[in-house]
């Protein structure tokens, strides 16, 4: 799949540790991200953000002249874009949950380079998906913008539930999504007893996207666990 447009996104990186900044830049550059600017404190970050107009913020929680949470609020008040936190404190996980601060994701240090790239790509894809409307599958294409599937030149509309399910599967393309996570995406929290409905919806999605719905190649069942969407080029 073509994610090159994501590599052009402007990323603002804020951390007080020079070594860490350099390392993250090198990881990002290696993955062909181009537009990266760094700041070492809240003050610098706000000044840089004025001109740079970032499309993704990667912030440390503890900064010499403030904390990342308040910086996020200030950045978001100017312009709304996704924020990823890098934190050295495991307990911050609780904080994010407790306060619902509006961060898009967080990574607890230390992290693996591929983990960082995966999370950044996932956030960007989620936030800027409308710029890449067509998702290529082996036998069809999904147009999330119009909630349609294009198969053999034919346009097939997706229902709301099918759209929700496919969105979750696409966000986790190539990875298994559990039955429970899919039910939650379609029917809200604490979904019990929707397994059969889910199977029915999956069957209908397959009829729309697969060449042969009884032998699926794009939407794979992982027995007892969940489903996996195979996207071309991924």
């Amino acid at each position: 799949m073509d994610f090159e447009y994501l590599k052009q996104k402007r990323i603002l990186l804020v951390d007080d540790e020079q070594d860490l900044l350099e390392m993250v830049i090198s990881i990002l550059k290696e993955d062909r991200f181009q537009n990266i600017k760094t700041a070492k404190c809240v003050k610098d970050a706000l000044i840089i953000a004025e001109d740079f107009r970032p499309e993704l913020g990667i912030l440390d929680v503890m900064l010499p002249d403030g904390n990342g949470f308040s910086l996020m609020e200030q950045l978001k008040s100017k312009s709304d874009y996704p924020i990823l936190f890098l934190t050295a404190r495991g307990e911050d996980e609780d904080k994010f949950k407790g306060f619902g601060l509006g961060a898009d994701d967080y990574i607890v240090k230390p992290f693996l380079p591929k983990e960082l790239i995966y999370r950044i790509t996932a956030i960007l894809r989620r936030s800027y998906k409308d710029e890449n409307p067509l998702v290529k599958l082996q036998n069809s294409e999904i147009d999330f913008d119009r909630a349609e599937v294009v198969k053999n030149g034919e346009y097939i509309a997706l229902t709301a539930k099918e759209y929700d399910l496919l969105s979750v599967l696409y966000r986790n393309a190539g990875r298994i999504v559990t039955i429970d996570a899919l039910c939650e995406a379609a029917w809200g929290e604490n979904p019990f007893g929707y397994e059969n409905s889910l199977m029915a919806h999956i069957r209908r999605i397959r009829e729309k996207i697969e060449a042969n719905p009884s032998q699926p190649v794009s939407l794979i069942t992982v027995k007892g666990l969940g489903y996996k969407l195979i996207v071309e080029g991924k």
């Binding site: 390392m23 090198s26 050295a88 992290f111 693996l112 380079p113 429970d180 019990f192 007893g193």
Partner: protein, 461 residues
């Protein structure tokens, strides 16, 4: 305070019993005294004997010598009144002058009942007359009107019982009133002592009969509170220290992992060099896991980890962990098989979602850590005896009986107060045990039916 009424009941029981015993004892003593009086001889019997001892021979009266002596000894005089003449026909030598020698029938009735000139008199009959004994003045008190209403005698047993009952009730009330004050002051002290064992702070008003006891209980409570505060402080300090160290290690370790990760994939390096980077990366990951484990284990141990218990679907939680592993296991060296019954779509338990996830994660990671050459992992959720059983097994190298015994029973070095020279198992299982314990569950380590190692988490539903 449950034992107080019991105590009071016991006291009253003893009191009642002793009252009854005392009454019985009194009766016995009375009976003994009365029976001691009997051989002393009722003067009536003596009078009858005296009457029999007087014989009439040829118009003279002969009195038995023995009886005479006996009467003399007691300073008793005697007269014999003839039936027909009402004259005194015989008398002892010691007869006082004031005693008349002739008696009318009414005189006889009166002397039988009472006295002659202040001398208590007793009568004994014979064929020809009546023997009258006169005892010294003030030696006997005679009951002059010896008659009772029949009903009084007929109801005597009931009357006695009723009086006894009244007495017992009276004693009971006297006791209650006298002791109410004492009981009142004992109650808060008893409550205080009971509360001491619950580690709650205790304060009792220091007044009343038992104020000294109250003071020492208050002081004991203060000491206990101070000690538990100090202990808490020390444990908090220890957990904070571990949290601080692990925090400070995270940023440098990020750098090591970041660059090692890049070097691992650097196509400009030789295969050997990239392999070295992989080793650095793997070991750094181990350190990262160790830091995370150490932090969580210390927090769980010192009750500093918040446990947010909610109703959750255990099947969904375990399924998510399994899927996370499958999604990251690229070379499928550790295939995970989901062996949960397909019909079991939910198993609702009260649990902290993140902690349970962590426990299952640790169990699967354990299988991976201990089977370097790969193994199949079997994960299953089932309901057994109204309990939720989460089972993680593998077909790997397994463990010996002795090792399993040790894993089940030996405390971890982190929570063990003995010496720790012996190398014990890692933190992974300790955390599982801690998490399960915080949910009032049970951890069972055993051989797997797949020839490897098996850990069961049993949680109440």
């Amino acid at each position: 305070m449950k034992s107080m009424p019991k105590l009071i009941r016991r006291f009253i029981g003893i009191l009642m019993l002793s009252s009854i015993l005392i009454i019985i004892l009194n009766f016995v003593v009375l009976a003994i005294i009365a029976s001691n009086q009997a051989p002393n001889g009722s003067p009536w019997i003596t009078a009858t004997e005296a009457a029999e001892s007087l014989q009439k021979c040829n118009n003279t009266y002969v009195f038995n010598n023995e009886m005479n002596t006996k009467l003399n000894k007691q300073n008793v005089w005697a007269i014999f009144i003839d039936n027909s003449t009402h004259q005194v026909v015989w008398h002892t030598d010691n007869l006082p002058d004031s005693i008349p020698t002739k008696y009318s029938i009414s005189d006889i009735a009166s002397l039988t009942r009472g006295y002659i000139d202040g001398y208590p008199t007793f009568t004994g009959e014979s064929e020809s007359g009546i023997m009258v004994l006169g005892y010294p003045k003030d030696s006997y008190w005679k009951h002059m009107w010896p008659s009772w209403d029949y009903q009084v005698i007929a109801h005597l047993p009931q009357t006695v019982l009723a009086i006894l009952a009244c007495n017992v009730t009276l004693i009971f009330f006297i006791y209650m009133i006298a002791n109410a004050k004492l009981l009142k002051s004992v109650n808060p002290i008893a409550n205080g002592i009971q509360n001491l064992s619950t580690e709650r702070p205790v304060y009792i008003k220091e007044k009343g009969v038992l104020s000294e006891l109250a003071t020492s209980i208050n002081r004991t409570s203060d000491i206990l509170q101070t000690q538990s505060r100090q202990l808490q402080k020390r444990e908090t300090a220890r957990a904070n220290w571990i949290a601080g160290v692990s925090h400070d290690i995270r940023t440098p370790l990020s750098m090591i992992m970041g660059y090692a990760g890049q070097l691992e994939n650097d196509s400009h390096l030789t295969y050997e060099e990239r392999k070295k980077a992989t080793v650095i990366l793997k070991q750094s990951e181990k350190m990262r896991n160790l830091i995370n484990d150490l932090n969580l284990a210390s927090k769980l141990e010192y009750n500093m980890q918040p446990v947010n218990i909610k109703k959750e679907n255990a099947v969904a939680i375990v399924r998510q962990v399994v899927v996370d592993f499958i999604n990251t296991d690229i070379d499928s060296k550790y295939p995970i098989e989901w062996t949960t019954d397909e019909n079991l779509s939910s198993c609702i338990i009260n649990v902290d979602r993140d902690l349970l996830k962590r426990a299952v994660y640790n169990l699967i990671q354990n299988c991976i850590n201990h089977n370097k050459s790969g193994c199949a992992i079997y994960v299953c959720v089932r309901v057994e005896n109204e309990k939720c059983v989460i089972c993680v097994e593998d077909n790997g190298v397994g463990a010996s009986d002795a090792q399993i015994q040790k894993l089940n029973n030996t405390p971890h070095y982190m929570v063990c107060d003995g010496n720790t020279t012996e190398q014990m198992h890692g933190l992974g299982l300790l955390i599982v045990k801690q998490i399960v314990a915080s949910h009032h569950g049970e951890t069972v380590i055993e051989h797997s039916s797949y020839d490897g190692f098996s850990v069961k988490i049993i949680l109440p539903m």
